[in-house]
Every structure is written in structure tokens, then in C-alpha cells.
């Protein structure tokens, strides 16, 4: 009777590859860590939410995102981290810089060991909320990112992975 729900959404296909030399970033976020190594942040307090935001902002700068894309990614991260904190009872958010086909991306993974999401499709609908938000958090975060994946098991937890790629 194990219920596993996985939703994969790719809003836009990944941009066509254009071979450019990978600008190898030495670190991501403020905590260091080489490219390709996820940096994990705790999401257990309100203060952690701000720390995560700063780390994501720094990571988007390092990846070379435009200002609008920085705003999109930081906003999505804020929604995901808040979900982890409020609905998941706390957890982690990891940031990882990706280099694929000459393009740079930022992968956010929000993980909790909370109650899980009973109906993922419903949770992604605008206006659906069980908490203090406007119910646009999850669906909104999905629209702000290029790739979005939810893995949730009732009683086990929820992991949301989201990627945005840079324009060039």
C-alpha cells in the first residue's frame, strides 16, 4: 500500500546546447563547495529561510543569471524553503551548480521528512493551500523554474527538485 507520487514537469525544454567553454566556478553560495557538489542548508527556523535566500542569491550571481532570472530563482527558492519549513516541519535545501552541454544551471533540492503531500496535483493548483500562504507557492515555484520534480510519500517526506538554466 505504499503510495509514491512523482510529478515531473518540464515547462520549457532545455535550451539548445551551444558549446561554450564551461566557466568553472570555484564555489556556490556563501558556504563554498566546488561546482557539482551540492551545498546543503538547514531549513529549520525563520532565520534559516533568510540564510537560504542569501545563499541562493549568491549562487545565482555565480551562475551568471540575469537580474530577472535571479529574482525568479530566489523567489522560487523562498517558496520551496517556506513549504519545507511550514508543511514539512523543517528539512534542508541543497544548491548545486550544473554544467550541461555548455550551459549553466542551478539545481535546488528541498527535502523534508514531513507528512508528505497527499494529492500532488491538487497541491500544484493555484489557490490550494493548507497553510498560511496564498496557495500559489508550489505551482508558482514550478512556473518560475525550467524543470520541476516532486517526489512525495505520505508519512515519509517530500523532495522537490527544481532547475533553472541560464539564458546563454
Amino acid at each position: 500500500m505504499k503510495m509514491t507520487d512523482e510529478v515531473v514537469a518540464t515547462r520549457r525544454s532545455r535550451p539548445a546546447s551551444r558549446p561554450t567553454p564551461d566557466p568553472v566556478g570555484p564555489s556556490i553560495g556563501v558556504s563554498g563547495g566546488p561546482s557539482g557538489t551540492p551545498v546543503v542548508h538547514e531549513v529549520r527556523t525563520e532565520e534559516d529561510l533568510l540564510v537560504v535566500r542569501h545563499a541562493v542569491r549568491a549562487a545565482t550571481l555565480e551562475c551568471g543569471f540575469s537580474l530577472i532570472d535571479q529574482t525568479r530563482v530566489v523567489t522560487a527558492a523562498s517558496e520551496l524553503a517556506r513549504n519545507t519549513y511550514i508543511h514539512g516541519g523543517g528539512g534542508t535545501m541543497s544548491l548545486e551548480r550544473l554544467n550541461r552541454h555548455g550551459r549553466t544551471g542551478l539545481l535546488l533540492v528541498a527535502r523534508d521528512e514531513g507528512p508528505g503531500i497527499e494529492d500532488v496535483e491538487q497541491a500544484l493548483e493555484d489557490g490550494y493551500t493548507t497553510g498560511a500562504g496564498l496557495g500559489h507557492g508550489l505551482g508558482g515555484a514550478r512556473r518560475l523554474m525550467h524543470e520541476f520534480r516532486i517526489h512525495t510519500e505520505p508519512g515519509v517526506g517530500t523532495t522537490v527538485s527544481a532547475i533553472r538554466w541560464t539564458e546563454r
Partner: protein
């Protein structure tokens, strides 16, 4: 509720308008404290309008959006008109993509225009060079 926490944002009175703003790092506690304080000031001062400058906000997520919506509604119920001013363009784009139009919240491009919308003029500005 616990003892009131100062929100850390000044609320100024200019004529019949209250002028205030939001800081970028709005957490739950600060948001609640700010809402409480502003509501008390509206009740005490009875302003016609409230200008909330948000030019410091680097992002508006659904939590901040909800805070702004609720503030606006509360103020309106107390007879004050709220204008939210100074949203950064990337924030506006992101909000729309998030699906949050901040409906019912009156906005202005800048604090100055917001003040004008609230009927507050500064009459002493000399005409700029080059005006006809």
C-alpha cells in the same frame, strides 16, 4: 499573543497620509508586528491614505504578497486607502509568473506618484529647465 515586537520600520505622518515601507527581510514575526503597528496607527490617526514603499524588496513571494493584501484590506476596512509604491520591475515580472496579481492592491511606480495619487502635492517645486 506575546508582547508587541517593534517592527523596526518607521511610520511617518505627512498631513493625512501615513508613509511607511517594508524591509527586504520580512519574516513572520516582523510582518505580524508591522501589521499590528500600522493598524494601530491607522486607528489612532485616522489617515485618508497609507503609502507603503516596497522599493527595498528584492523579491515578493506568496508570503509577502499575502501580507500586503491583508494590510490593504485591513486599512480599507478602517477607512484608509493604501497605495503600494516602488515595486522593482523584476519583482513585478516574477509576481505575475507566480500567479499573484495583488488584486485589490493599488500601486504606483514611485513613492512620489503614490503620494500624488493620495492627493498629497508638493507645490514648491520650481519648473524644470526645458519645460515649455
Amino acid at each position: 499573543m506575546s508582547a508587541p515586537v517593534p517592527a523596526g520600520v518607521p511610520i511617518l505622518r505627512l498631513g493625512n497620509v501615513l508613509v511607511t515601507g517594508l524591509l527586504d527581510e520580512l519574516d513572520d514575526k516582523t510582518a505580524r508586528a508591522f501589521t499590528d503597528e500600522l493598524t494601530e496607527r491607522i486607528a489612532a490617526d485616522g489617515p485618508a491614505g497609507v503609502l507603503i514603499d516596497i522599493s527595498r524588496l528584492e523579491i515578493i513571494d506568496s508570503f509577502v504578497a499575502r501580507t500586503l493584501s491583508e494590510l490593504t484590506t485591513t486599512a480599507r476596512l478602517l477607512g484608509a486607502r493604501v497605495v503600494v509604491a516602488g515595486m522593482r520591475p523584476p519583482v513585478a515580472i516574477t509576481l505575475v509568473e507566480l500567479g499573484l496579481a495583488l488584486e485589490g492592491v493599488e500601486t504606483a511606480l514611485t513613492a512620489e506618484r503614490g503620494m500624488q495619487a493620495l492627493g498629497w502635492y508638493h507645490g514648491s517645486q520650481p519648473p524644470e529647465r526645458g519645460t515649455r
